[in-house]
């Protein structure tokens, strides 16, 4: 096991090494067509989840309304 070297995390040399690595390991961005396709999938999924949430709150609203109505009918 390599003993941990406290100097290894000294900010300056570590920053230089990180910059070197970040430059060397840069990759081209996603191709535009792939990016557009992924974005469309993510947007559609967001829309689907939004609609699902809206429906769930509507049903919850109906359920609460029904409970209130039943309570009023029983005790009112």
């Amino acid at each position: 096991m390599i003993p941990d070297d406290p100097n290894a995390t000294t900010a300056e040399p570590a920053a230089a090494l990180d910059t070197l690595a970040a430059r060397a390991l840069a990759t081209p961005p996603l191709p535009p067509e792939a990016r557009a396709r992924l974005r469309a999938v993510v947007r559609n999924e967001a829309r689907r989840v939004r609609v699902g949430l809206a429906e769930a709150s509507l049903h919850a609203g109906f359920a609460v309304g029904a409970l209130v109505w039943a309570a009023v009918a029983a005790f009112g």
Binding site: I2, R23, A24, L53
Partner: protein, 176 residues
Amino acid sequence: MDAPEVDIRALRRLDAEAVDTVFDAYADRLARFLRRLGAGPEVAEELVQESFVRLVRHAPRLTDETRVGAWLYTVARNLWRSHRRWAWVDGTRLLELASRPASAPVGPAELVEAGRTAAHVQAVVAALPEAQREVFLLVAVEGLTPQDAAEVLGLSAEAARQRLARARRAIEEALP
């Protein structure tokens, strides 16, 4: 490489603009991270898509404290590990390796710094043990803080710091 500002409340409501902002901020970063972990371009795209789909499904449960970047990297990394496990079982990994170019993709061809070429740095980083490579990529290349990297990797901050120090030392020693 600062973490982009994310409006968590808008994201929780799945506001279309907030979803687009997060996608624009992280899609390329996640793809690069996955490529450097060893994913081919198609697999990286597939896993980026799945990471964002999971984010929007989980969005209503995000808390104000959630760091979206760390969350996405965690999911992407887990998906990659899961993909790799299954790919070994069904053989697609072998097909992917066979179809890959002989050398790792090379960035800028010019000398990066006093005799250190991009290809050399790539080879040195690729040769790191996976545990060190992951933390190094997250901190040095993706710009996460060591604390966020620790969270992504499920490590204590101290363990992540030690792995990072070992990775940096190994790279320093391997470069001319």
